[in-house]
Symmetry: C2
Subunit: 414 residues, 2 copies
């Protein structure tokens, strides 16, 4: 694929986006069911293409598990599409309206974003997941996956495109960039005339690369250096439960807890139990000097630890002099994702929630709840850590914008 062909692909997506924006909810749901059936029917074909990807001698071993598709994973992808059927259509929504002094009636109506670009790595399931989310929300999608999964991605997209064609719809609602070169990726990130938003899905490095190189607007997702602050008025057992859950239940994800801050008044009493809880579950515990004065075999935490997202069974603990010190530490070192206070003090909870700058600020609950499904959105595009457009868990509505539809009877401006 050359740059001219990429531009044509962008034009095709923009054209298709006008058709996708006009589809009824019933039609979209019907097509989603056909997508799911087609994927199941073509299981063998998908596995064959996936084998080509897996047999690439240049593939790094760490990619193999992410890359591999089997009947179970293919069935999971189909089920993901069927789940979208049950969700409300985010573009079938009016946000309200009003009449102006001039008698114009203004209605604010949800509309699809238009063309969504997804940049991802070796997981071929993202192809189906992202295509389904974009389709349900009335968008056209351009998928640019990693070179490792190129054969799988092309076959998966072709199956969906065939369904669109069979229904006399524009198959360019779903397109794959089948040439994973860096030059084309860069051109894609600058395709402002045809792409309305880019969503990178994958490692922190991928996201940073897209942020640094795109001129198309980007939704930043994923980084989570999440804290639990144990206040002096915290219930000890509740604090222990929330810390264990935040760190251990699924340590590899962005809403896992990476740090514990604890008020000095309860550190002596609480820390020995908290640390044994963690160690019993295989967590490596690091701590500041005060923590090590209480439990002396804790590994010293370095300056770098306070800014590190481990995504692993490691935690760092710091004793703080006050609630304000905890808030200040979080605002300096956090990634604005999910932050927790454990406290039975009303004022402490309110102050923490108001002053901590994060998408989700919890009193007395685990950071692990920051998730589109747990929030009840029924789907998740990602968790935004920026403040523009969408913040925190993003459901289908994050793939929409709005337009003002205005009705007059000949008004002109004075």
């Amino acid at each position: 694929m050359n740059k001219q062909e990429l531009i044509q692909l962008g034009k095709n997506a923009k054209k298709a986006s006008f058709q996708s924006a006009g589809l009824s909810t019933t039609t979209k749901n019907d097509i989603l069911k056909q997508f799911a059936k087609a994927i199941i029917d073509k299981t063998d074909e998908i596995i064959d293409a996936n084998q080509k990807d897996l047999q690439n001698p240049q593939i790094e071993s760490k990619f193999i598990d992410r890359l591999k598709l089997d009947a179970k994973r293919i069935s999971d992808m189909a089920n993901g599409l069927l789940q979208l059927v049950g969700l409300a259509d985010p573009t079938a929504k009016i946000d309200g309206g009003w009449e102006t002094e001039d008698g114009l009636r203004i209605v604010k109506q949800r509309v699809p974003l238009g063309v969504v670009g997804i940049i991802y790595e070796a997981r071929p399931n993202v192809t189906i997941d992202a295509a389904g989310l974009c389709f349900k929300s009335g968008n056209a999608v351009i998928l640019r996956g990693g070179k490792e999964s190129i054969n799988s991605n092309v076959v998966l997209a072709d199956i969906l495109r065939d369904v669109l064609k069979q229904n006399d719809l524009d198959e360019n609602m779903i397109q794959v960039i089948d040439d994973p070169s860096h030059e084309l990726a860069q051109a894609f990130m600058e395709l402002n005339d045809y792409v309305d938003v880019l969503i990178p899905r994958g490692s922190a490095r991928l996201i940073q690369t897209v942020l640094n190189n795109a001129t198309v607007p980007v939704i930043e997702t994923g980084a989570g250096n999440c804290h639990i602050y144990v206040d002096k008025d915290a219930d000890k057992q509740m604090a222990r439960n929330i810390i264990i859950n935040g760190k251990v239940q699924r340590p590899s994800v962005c809403n896992a807890t990476e740090k514990v801050l604890i008020h000095k008044d309860v550190a002596d009493d609480y820390l020995p139990d908290i640390i044994s809880d963690l160690r019993e579950r295989g967590v490596e515990v690091r701590g500041d000097e005060s923590t090590r004065a209480i439990v002396n075999d804790v590994i010293p935490a370095t300056t770098e630890d306070w800014d590190t997202e481990y995504n692993a069974l490691i935690i760092s603990i710091k004793v703080v002099d006050s609630r304000q010190a905890a808030i200040d530490h979080i605002n300096e070192h956090g990634t604005h994702h999910s932050e927790v206070i454990v406290s039975n003090d009303y004022a402490a909870g309110v102050a923490f929630q108001q002053q901590v700058d994060a998408a989700c600020v919890y009193v007395n609950a685990s950071s692990r709840f920051t998730d589109g499904f747990e929030f009840g959105f029924g789907a998740e595009i990602g968790i935004s850590t920026q403040k523009l457009h969408a913040r925190g868990p993003m459901g289908l509505e994050a793939l929409t914008s709005y337009k003002y539809v205005i009705n007059g009877d000949g008004q002109t401006r004075k």
Copy 2:
């Protein structure tokens, strides 16, 4: 100023933004009144600084009118601040909430964006306008104006900063980059750790430069190649009124009408009158071949005309075969700003509003109504032509994001 000092300025803004986010509406309104009074009291000082800018021998003559401040313009700036007092505080708002299956109570609460960066050209009134809007919405602001107005900008910001200091508030809620070098501008556009959003205000060229060079998220404003489509079922007099108003009432602004598309069935009857209306008001009329076949001394429109925002007393007219041809032309050549259909046909109005991809789509009213004040927002940061975050006229709420404030009683994830 060097790059290290700029980073320090960013840190100072971020720190101040935590204080500004916590100010009560009453306090903010009181300070806005003090800002207005201080500007009036310091009129002479402002004019002196402005004279320094005006006496710069390198100043281009076209900048002089935009740059010049006199007692009237200073009083207008003060009145702009007083108007903000009467507007609702956009951060004193809860967008709703719900309880999850796990019994977590989630509340979606409006919060300031944090630190807003404004990049503008030679108009020193933007300094006061932007500082006031950001302050009312609880944000800290970093102002980077053009070199032409540097003395005026610094004095204006200093007056506001003095008021903050006198009230024991952090004066770094409002800061000016007093060194207008390109290197610092570039570093500012990459200050992702401290700046939450950049809003360029000024020419299309300025906006494009910021879009191309910023890694901080940008809100794109301003470009308006707005169309009026005269349907075959249009009321002739209404069409004439709306075209005159759209083109002539204030031709230099982005919501002015730049193009007329007219259905072939009414072109013979309507165009001679429409064209004389425009010519009587000094408008240069260009047209496609069909238009020139009807009024033969119309200047031929070139391909380039269809994509040009004139911002002047020029208009191009095209005869179209159908409503769909008009919609397709607008979606290809428009800038997604404001588009108008004049028609008494119900289906035509609905189809136009649903299919045209623009922030504001009017039936039977002038494009000139696309404006924060006309919409009843009471203030305007700009008119967004992108789809992320905010679209169309942006009031104070466009300077806010949200956070989820979540209350539990010990919930952990299963």
